[in-house]
Amino acid sequence: MNDVVISVRELTKRFGDFIAVNRISFDVPRGEIFGFLGANGAGKTTAMRMLCGLSYPSAGSGTVAGYDIRCESERIKRCIGYMSQRFSLYNDLTVRENMLLFAGIYGLSRREALAGSERMLGKLDFVSEGDTLVGSLPLGWKQKLSFAIATLHSPEVVFLDEPTGGVDPVTRRQFWEMIYEAASQGTTIFVTTHYMDEAEYCSRVSVMVDGEIRALDTPARLKQQYAANSMDEVFRILARGAKRGE
């Protein structure tokens, strides 16, 4: 089971003279929760967009789920799920309609889509809200729903771009339980976050500073290496030398 799902070598993205992502390399095995940390502007989102096929790399190579990110991005799109930092479901559609829409987009048949969305509603304890417009749900619920929809088509990798921004601690906790459950079923989770307590939940963490990966290890070993008590401290030590501001 320990095969590599994401593999990146010397991946680089330039915008004119600006090097947003500078020769990063890493591997993510199946079922891992891979934390992708970095200050604003460190290049996290750009790196993630390249992995999702939203942005074309300037140099370097990489594979996601066994497909090349340069020339097989259409295949990659079929086997990944994506949840952006902005809430991105349709507010004027109901919970069920959103689920069916995305199930349809990912090529599930009508029957699979219906069964899948009912199962998901049951799991989320949302059955009574199935016909509620998404716009009227509280933010925490929306985020859980987004995650559920991102995993509806059982993707191999789920990319989460700061999924818990603006969510209360209780919901964040529940959210991470959902992430753990997905990971335990073999889904690889690639998550960017600002919250250092969340970094502690990850199997492994990479810290990006100025477009480069400065550290990559389990949270426990990183703390040991930098003689820190928390990931927060580790992050501050690493980010101290950052040239790019907030």
Binding site: L54, I80, Y82, S84, N91, L101, A103, I105, G107, F159
Partner: protein, 364 residues
């Protein structure tokens, strides 16, 4: 992958149907415009108040005045004296004054026999509104000429629109404007809204091809526009009495081509605009103004300065309005306006090509 396309079309239709306020506006704008232009705003001149100065009220003059008073366009104010003319015009009590010379009947005989060519009737008009004065003068001349002389030098016939109803002229113009508004504005706003909301990103990460996203967006808007089109044609024919003598099918098919063109314009706007407000402004200002001013909707293209005449050839609405006008009012079949159709078709292909390319480029 058929399922994902259909679920997309369904989603877009739901967006539109759930947004009942926008739906209402889209359906109401054409109706309001049609009624406004059809009844309220017109270039016809009604209810012109006319006074007459006639020192000797002979039979011939009485006959002429009666005819004038009976005409729908005029209301007869009464006989006034020579020195009241200026005051009455200034105060706005009358819009026009007809002066008969004192020896009107004798002079008319001279005119009739070619002895004298000097005028026998003077028209004095309040020209503070140029259009009203121009129209009134025309009407007055044609009415007074009849009883005044048995000899008719000219015979004028107004073909296609004998009553010179201005609504006939406006209907094609409104169609040219409305479809750009509905199609271009609504599609561009709806695409840009997805960009703003971040849902576009999620769609782009999904396996759906951008081409399908766009097509699925266009289909429901096309359907709505077709409903609006039928509504306009229905109102034009049954409420305003526009003849449509060139055949409804011709008008329908040309209009559908114009719909696709407007949709692709909307797509182009969406690739330029980053926010919904910008999309709205571009569609409203950049597209509406040239249509109003340069398409021949309000002002005849022949009257424009040369430079603007050249510019007007770039405006799709110009070709569309011209063709629809011919088909609706002149009763020309679609084959006769093939050059307009060809130009519109060319523009559509070009716009679609450019906007698809720009849309794809956006993805890097």
């Amino acid at each position: 992958m058929q399922n994902n396309f259909l679920s997309f079309v369904k989603k877009e239709s739901l967006h539109i149907l759930r947004d009942s306020r926008t739906m209402l506006i889209v359906m109401l704008i054409p109706v309001v415009l049609m009624v406004l232009f059809g009844f309220a705003i017109s270039t016809e001149v009604n209810n012109i108040k006319v006074a007459v100065v006639a020192p000797n009220r002979t039979d011939a003059i009485r006959k002429a005045v009666t005819q004038l008073a009976q005409n729908d366009y005029f209301s007869f104010y009464g006989y006034i004296s020579n020195d009241q003319v200026d005051k009455k015009l200034r105060s706005g009590e009358v819009n026009a004054v007809v002066l008969f010379v004192p020896d009107y009947e004798r002079r008319m005989v001279d005119v009739g026999s070619g002895v004298s060519g000097s005028p026998v009737i003077q028209l004095i008009l309040d020209a503070s509104n140029v259009n009203t004065a121009g129209a009134a003068s025309g009407y007055l001349q044609s009415i007074l000429w009849g009883p005044v002389s048995q000899q008719t030098l000219f015979e004028t016939r107004m073909l296609f629109n004998p009553q010179m109803k201005s609504a006939f002229n406006f209907v094609p113009g409104i169609m040219g404007l409305i479809f750009i508004l509905v199609c271009a504005m609504m599609t561009s706003v709806s695409i840009v809204r997805e960009k703003e909301m971040g849902t576009m990103e999620v769609l782009l990460v999904s396996p759906v091809r951008p081409f399908k996203i766009i097509m699925a967006k266009m289909i429901p808007y096309f359907a709505i526009s077709c409903i609006v089109l039928l509504l306009i044609l229905f109102l034009a024919h049954y409420l305003l009495g526009v003849p449509m003598s060139g055949g409804v099918w011709g008008i329908l098919s040309l209009s559908m081509l114009y719909l696709v063109l407007s949709l692709s314009l909307g797509l182009l706007v969406s690739t330029i605009a980053q926010t919904q407000v910008a999309a709205l402004l571009i569609s409203a200002m950049v597209m509406m103004m040239p249509i109003l001013m340069l398409s021949g909707m309000l002002f005849p293209i022949e009257n424009l300065p040369k430079f603007f005449q050249v510019v007007s050839t770039l405006i799709p609405a110009r070709w569309y309005i011209d063709a629809v006008r011919k088909m609706m009012i002149q009763g020309v079949p679609i084959a006769e306006v093939w050059s307009n159709c060809a130009i519109l078709f060319g523009m559509t292909v070009l716009l679609l090509g450019v906007s698809f390319k720009k849309f794809n480029d956006k993805l890097e």
